[in-house]
């Protein structure tokens, strides 16, 4: 590993450390999981201990899209638009069985999992998932951010 690579890996870990503890999330809440999101975000289970407490209701200022609840076919274009309008770097968490795989609603109305619309980083199972599971999912995302390779301007194309 030449001197230059050593420099960039140190910078990548610093960058990863900086990003993972200041996640501004956009709560894309639709259904019952929203109640568990409220419990996870509030004082009892407090998502803010992991630096992800600040909710930004505009995709321009958020870097984590938290898709909470069922995404129906009528709502799919809305989710796609919100995801496209988010700025890089961005991550997506599918929160709850309906977002992960359509859950108990396999019928004409529900998208069977949001990874058919947008790329998803972390899937949180449960219907609804307990707040501890939510925090565990968040920690898994933070590990992923910490070890994410940074695509540097110079050298390789993104």
């Amino acid at each position: 590993m030449s001197g230059f690579d050593f420099l960039t890996t140190r910078l990548e870990t610093a960058l990863g450390w900086g990003r993972k503890f200041s996640l501004f999330h956009y709560p894309f809440i639709t259904a019952c999981c929203g109640m568990e999101y409220m419990s996870a975000a509030c004082a009892h289970f407090d998502i803010d201990r992991f630096g992800a407490g600040l909710t930004r209701f505009s995709p321009r200022q958020a870097d984590l899209l938290l898709v909470v609840g069922t995404v129906t076919h009528k709502l799919a274009p809305v989710l796609k638009t919100v995801y496209d309008q988010m700025l890089e770097p961005k991550w997506v968490i599918a929160f709850g069985a309906c977002a992960v795989s359509g859950g108990i609603y396999q019928n004409y109305a529900v998208v069977q999992g949001i990874d058919r619309i947008i790329p998803v980083d972390v899937y949180i199972p449960g219907c609804p998932p307990r707040p501890e599971t939510v925090l565990d999912g968040l920690m898994k995302l933070q590990d992923r951010i910490q070890h994410q390779k940074q695509d540097w301007r110079w050298g390789k194309k993104p």
């Binding site: 995709p59 989710l79 638009t81 919100v82 496209d84 309008q85 890089e88 695509d151």
Partner: protein, 114 residues
């Protein structure tokens, strides 16, 4: 004098770093959807933004005026540090003039939306 130039230099550097670092480190994947306005995810109902109503302009101008006044407090306070009552009177006069303008606007009913 040195500390003023030094502070300008440091703050300038800080601003430059804050702007450039985003340009350097953020991965750039251009996306046409990002140009369109954010309308809660639904398609916008109107092409551009139409003419904006007068009350908006009045409130904006008044805000600008009073905001700049507040910004002037810091250098004035520094400049009048040792002057005692004289400095305070000068600052008071400055604030009074602007306060009269604010009260006039208030009585004219700028803040009462029709």
């Amino acid at each position: 004098m040195l500390e003023v130039t030094l502070s300008f230099f440091v703050f300038g550097l800080l601003a430059a770093v804050m702007i450039l670092i985003n340009y350097l480190l953020g991965p750039r994947r251009p996306n046409p959807a990002r140009e369109k306005p954010f309308e809660c995810g639904s398609p916008p109902l109107q092409a551009g933004i139409g003419p904006v109503h007068v009350p908006f302009f009045l409130v904006a101008l008044l805000f600008l005026l009073l905001d700049v006044e507040v910004v002037f407090f810091y250098p004035l306070a520094l400049a009048f540090r040792g002057r005692g009552f004289g400095g305070f009177a000068a600052l008071g006069g400055f604030v009074l003039v602007l306060a009269m303008g604010f009260v006039y606007a208030w009585k004219k009913g700028i803040f009462r939306w029709s």
